[in-house]
């Protein structure tokens, strides 16, 4: 198996910041969750596959701002989201570096993802962006939503995103075995991905949700990192007999099912 080029240890300063942040809540947070969140924040500030570190931080800020964006709320209420126009309530530094088309897709992914469409995503190609720009942005958006929800549930402020980006250019490397199908984005379709992405999943348990972000393999690796400490190791998703958590598996699945139902997620 090839060694993936993805950060597996957090930046020291960010690790300490996350520890301090989580120590302010009334309950003790598992050290593995603390470390995983610090690793992801450390990855966030580095160049990705399609975006620079500064752009990746801006995407996370957009995902956070969408929670309270009046335009997003109006679009969600409208019969057609495209019938409502206006300015997204995102910070000025975000507007300065992110294409409007990406801000729009990130906002929809946070507040109105049920109405995401293949054509809305494909529209980014008209402004010179690749599907990879969307997949990576979606990956960052959903993790931001995860971490913000976690902090909110604990009664804490959100993590500070005002750290400096690491300089460098995105790699723009596409998986050689990714292809477009009926879904909205290209995905790796083989049971065993070609190197260096043969670490992405266990071929015995792979499902479509594993493949979803595979056009940007490191976005899927982010999901694996967090699922392992916040839910279950996704290689053991269908192993209902072993359970390393205090919660019974049926309790974990009830939480997962309720969140999915409230969001009207059919999958």
């Amino acid at each position: 198996m090839s060694a993936p080029k993805v950060l597996m240890t957090p930046d020291e300063g960010l690790y300490e910041a996350v520890k301090t942040h989580l120590s302010a809540c009334e309950v003790s947070v598992d050290e593995k969750i603390t470390e995983a969140h610090a690793i992801w924040l450390s990855r966030l500030r580095r160049p990705g596959t399609w975006w620079t570190g500064a752009e990746r931080i801006a995407i996370a800020k957009t995902a956070r701002a969408a929670r309270d964006c009046p335009l997003c709320a109006a679009k969600k209420e409208a019969l057609s989201p495209n019938s409502v126009t206006g300015e997204y309530a995102v910070p000025d530094d975000v507007k300065a570096i992110l294409p409007h088309e990406i801000i729009e897709l990130v906002c929809r992914a946070v507040t109105d993802v049920n109405r995401m469409t293949k054509s809305a995503i494909a529209a980014i190609e008209k402004v010179g962006l690749d599907h990879g720009h969307y997949v990576e942005a979606l990956g960052l958006t959903v993790v931001t939503r995860n971490l913000d929800t976690f902090c909110r549930g604990l009664g804490l402020p959100f993590y500070d995103l005002s750290f400096d980006p690491v300089d460098g250019e995105p790699s723009r490397i596409k998986p050689v075995d990714a292809a477009m199908g009926e879904e909205f984005v290209p995905m790796i379709r083989s049971a065993v991905p070609e190197p260096p992405n043969d670490d992405l999943w266990d071929p015995k348990t792979v499902g479509n949700v594993y493949r979803a972000l595979s056009y940007v393999p490191n976005a899927h690796r982010d999901t694996r990192l967090l699922a392992k400490v916040q839910y279950v190791d996704i290689d053991h998703l269908l192993d209902f007999k072993s359970n390393s958590r205090a919660l019974a598996r049926v309790q974990s699945e009830y939480v997962a099912s309720r969140v999915s139902a409230i969001n009207e997620c059919f999958y």
Binding site: E183, M187, V250, V259
Partner: protein
């Protein structure tokens, strides 16, 4: 996944997946309190989260509480991955959940249009 995680000793009412706390505890320890807290976290106010957090910690204890919020937050991520990429329901899941989807009305969700298609 919920139905697959049930052990022979469990008797759960899957209507709680869509109805939440009004279905009672569903035979799950802390089921009502979990449902109320999750609903508050996903679509409630800060006040509702605070109130239900205290109740849930009282029922499950702090360790299980952290696992509840960690799982809920993870699924705020997972549902957006699924619907943001338009993935279809896997064949295995499609067949195994036919009765459950029908009884819970999940086929009426707007996202069923793309998720329900045959691969």
């Amino acid at each position: 996944m919920l139905s697959w995680s049930v052990t022979p000793e469990d008797e759960i009412d899957t209507q709680g997946i869509v109805k939440g706390a009004e279905s009672g505890d569903m035979g799950i320890e802390g089921g009502v309190e979990i449902a109320n807290f999750v609903e508050a976290v996903v679509k409630g106010t800060e006040e509702e989260i605070t109130a239900n957090r205290g109740i849930l910690i009282g029922v499950l204890g702090p360790v299980k509480f952290v696992e509840v919020i960690a799982t809920a937050a993870m699924f705020e991520q997972m549902v957006r991955i699924a619907d943001g990429t338009g993935i279809a329901l896997d064949d295995m899941t499609l067949g195994a959940t036919e009765d459950l989807r029908d009884s819970l009305g999940l086929n009426e969700f707007s996202t069923a249009q793309h998720t329900f298609r045959k691969e």
